[in-house]
């Protein structure tokens, strides 16, 4: 495939691996966090870790939209579908996220709830148009990449004058999650999570640009390299991070210049600003309640806000006692450090959210890398 195979070329990978080995100082260790689940997936699927020297370690970050969705939010969606009888539309990965009472959206569907998997927010609007007798709710999740399409759906519904379409908005913000990690005691005080730099998001950065990361580089003295989701992108980014560390620099560099610039997609940013505003607080799985870390629908579009249309109060629900998703999302633990990993918690029967999406650290390690543990 043109423009894809070039970024998965084994010969180039070996050359890059050799360069990384040459440049990495054998006297020190390097710990880099890949923020995004897309990177986690690429690292596991292509076996990138096998090509790195022993003193370069990757830590999986919290950037998997399904993984950070707290149980309470999935419960809300399930309640809407089961009790309020709405047609609930959402992205495929969301369906299997474990919620309260042993339920998930998929299990609620088996109990008779009308739950549909859609490929885009526009499909949900179309569904509402086709079925004026049904209340259609789009369960909107994800980071900045999926937010603009939700904004478009809401504006479209407004333009069409739809009375039966609303959005349960759970969109979250990348920079807040990065701050939360950098502010965590494990990184700041105790040093139990050694962190020498970040691989910055690919798709998120096409929207927000590279500028928002400059704060982290300056304020926390951590190098950031924005990278694409192909395995060669990841390896090149690791090499750039090693160079920054070796040279004592902490800057934002852009490996993914074929798609990302400093300012990002202004049009998308305007759309998002027009439809959404900051939430004061939002609970994340694993990262707890983070101030100004998520979006809600502006008053002007309130009629499309499922939280206003339906009686939905938010009830936080603690994770399974033995589940380490929280610590894994903060980089404190690895999937194989969790007692549940691969025993009671598997992709077929996930206990924690990191085992659900293919971008989750646990699912990626279970699916592609668990042969290393035995």
């Amino acid at each position: 495939m043109k423009y894809i195979d070039e970024f998965r070329d084994g010969d180039v990978a070996r050359g890059l691996a050799e360069a990384i080995r040459r440049e990495a100082n054998p006297e020190r260790r390097y710990h880099f966090m890949e923020f995004c689940g897309g990177h986690t997936h690429a690292i596991s699927r292509y076996g990138v870790a096998d090509l790195l020297p022993d003193n370069v370690k990757m830590i999986h970050g919290p950037g998997c939209p399904v993984c950070v969705l707290p149980i309470g939010r999935v419960d809300q969606a399930i309640r809407l579908a089961l009790e309020d009888g709405v047609t609930l539309c959402t992205y495929g990965d969301c369906l299997r996220v474990p919620a309260s009472d042993g339920l998930s959206l998929l299990k609620a569907k088996a109990r008779g709830a009308d739950i549909r998997m859609v490929y885009s927010s526009a499909d949900a609007v179309t569904l509402a148009q086709k079925h004026p007798e049904k209340q259609v709710v789009f369960f909107a999740i994800g980071f900045e990449t999926t937010t603009p399409p939700t904004a478009v759906a809401i504006k479209q519904a407004a333009a069409l004058g739809l009375k039966n379409f609303s959005v349960l908005c759970c969109h979250v913000l990348t920079p807040s999650a990065i701050s939360s990690i950098l502010e965590s005691p494990e990184v700041r005080q105790w040093g139990t999570v050694p962190l020498d730099g970040f691989i910055g998001p690919a798709h998120v950065s096409t929207i927000i640009g590279s500028r928002p990361y400059e704060f982290f580089a300056e304020e926390y003295r951590k190098p950031v390299v924005i990278a694409g989701f192909e395995p060669l992108d990841v390896m090149q980014a690791i090499r750039m991070l090693i160079r920054q560390v070796n040279e004592g620099r902490a800057e934002v560099e852009n490996e993914f210049s074929r798609a990302v610039d400093r300012e990002g997609n202004k049009k998308a940013q305007q759309l998002v600003a027009e439809v959404f505003e900051m939430r004061k607080n939002f609970e994340w799985r694993g990262l707890n309640v983070l101030p100004y870390s998520a979006l809600r629908i502006r008053r002007q579009f309130a009629e499309f806000d499922a939280e206003k249309r339906f009686p939905l109060d938010y009830q936080p629900v603690p994770d399974h006692k033995a589940c380490e998703c929280g610590a894994i999302l903060r980089g404190v633990k690895r999937p194989q450090d969790c007692k549940l990993f691969g025993t009671v918690c598997t992709p077929e029967n996930p206990i924690g959210s990191c085992m659900v999406s293919s971008e989750g650290a646990c699912a990626a390690h279970y699916t592609y890398g668990r042969y290393k543990d035995v």
């Binding site: 894809i4 292509y46 076996g47 096998d50 299997r96 490929y119 592609y368 042969y371």
Partner: protein, 350 residues
């Protein structure tokens, strides 16, 4: 079966008619549907017996194989085939990968009230053609009708019977360390052909289903004299799931070479676009063969010489592994597990 007297009843209006509840009632309307649609196209000496079951000659030496498969594919018509030919090919393949020569099929239809007779006729004609090409007649059948909304047009269950010659021993339990793993052609064509015509996806692609009966190819493989240990058709769950089943059954591990996997560029591109992995996408006209290492080249040559095996390739090797992992050396140079399919990658593909 009560006979419909010509001249008393108007012929079925296949062009404009629809299935109604009477077509499954056991009465005259059902008899007419069977005579004017099913028997007309599928007719053969056994079906013509008209009894509750088909009376078949007992095969000579060897053992019998029986396999059954239900088909609920959506949409019913897709590029490269339809539910009719798929239901014939699917069951023939299940019988054939046991090393058997398929002899007869049965077909059970569950029709939804309101289903267009014109579409049903197309499906039955497609079954008839597939059965004829394969030389495996449909010798008995059944029709039921369910109320509107209780089905999805038509579901078809076919059962096949075949005979295995004495001395043939094919089973998923027979893979041995050192064996070679071969596939008969490109992976993922059927699943992606179905996916591409799902209305909600809105993309066009030139991909057609690979649905085909494989017993001819299998006969050619047997004739090559190669020591074949396992044959299987990687349908739902794709190659990855089939290999994991075999690894589990045989108590072995496997190592695949990603670069050796045959995948059409269009299938690869569509998978990339939808976030799917061709290793998990269904095939309906491909098989996996595991054979003794020294016979791998001979078997590969025999497969490639057959029209259904032109793109056959050797993709990996069986080895000892107490954990029964199927692993792969990626084109990138790393190693990873090729796991069981978890959840559902594509709904209702066969």
């Amino acid at each position: 079966m009560s006979e419909v007297r010509k001249g008393y009843v108007r012929p079925l209006d296949i062009k404009h008619g629809q299935v109604d509840m009477a077509h499954g009632s056991g009465g005259r309307a059902m008899a007419q549907l069977i005579e004017e649609l099913f028997a007309k196209h599928l007719g053969n000496e056994y079906l013509a017996q008209g009894d509750d079951g088909a009376l078949l000659p007992a095969p000579g030496a060897g053992r019998l194989v029986m396999a059954t498969d239900s088909h609920v594919v959506s949409p019913l018509f897709f590029p490269g085939g339809d539910i009719g030919c798929l239901s014939v090919h699917g069951t023939i393949n299940d019988v054939a990968v046991m090393g058997a020569t398929p002899l007869w099929l049965s077909a059970g239809f569950i029709l939804e009230e309101g289903f267009k007779l014109a579409d049903l006729a197309l499906i039955v004609q497609s079954m008839a053609q597939a059965a004829k090409e394969a030389g495996v007649p449909i010798v008995t059948g059944d029709t039921k009708v369910v109320e509107r909304g209780k089905g999805d047009g038509v579901f078809i269950t076919t059962t096949g019977v075949g005979v295995v010659a004495p001395g043939q021993e094919l089973s998923g339990r027979n893979a041995r360390p050192g064996d070679a793993i071969l596939v008969s052609g490109t992976l993922g064509d059927h699943g992606m052909a179905i996916m591409a015509v799902r209305e909600s996806l809105g993309f066009e692609s030139p991909i057609v289903s690979d649905t085909a009966a494989l017993h001819g190819l299998i006969a050619a493989m047997r004739d090559s004299g190669a020591d074949i240990h396992v044959l299987r058709d990687p349908t739902r769950g794709g190659l990855a799931t089939t290999l994991n089943e075999i690894a589990q059954q045989s108590g072995v591990g496997m190592m695949l070479q990603e670069k050796a996997l045959p995948v059409k560029p269009a299938v690869n591109a569509a998978c990339e676009f939808l976030g799917l992995d061709p290793l998990y996408v269904a095939n309906e006209g491909k098989l996996v063969a595991i054979c003794a290492e020294q016979d791998a080249e001979k078997l590969l040559a025999a497969m490639r010489a057959h029209p259904l095996g032109g793109a056959a390739a050797r993709i990996g090797t069986v080895h000892e592994d107490a954990h029964h992992f199927v692993q792969m050396t990626t084109g990138f140079g790393g190693k990873r597990i090729v796991d069981w399919l978890s959840g559902e990658q594509l709904p209702r593909i066969c």
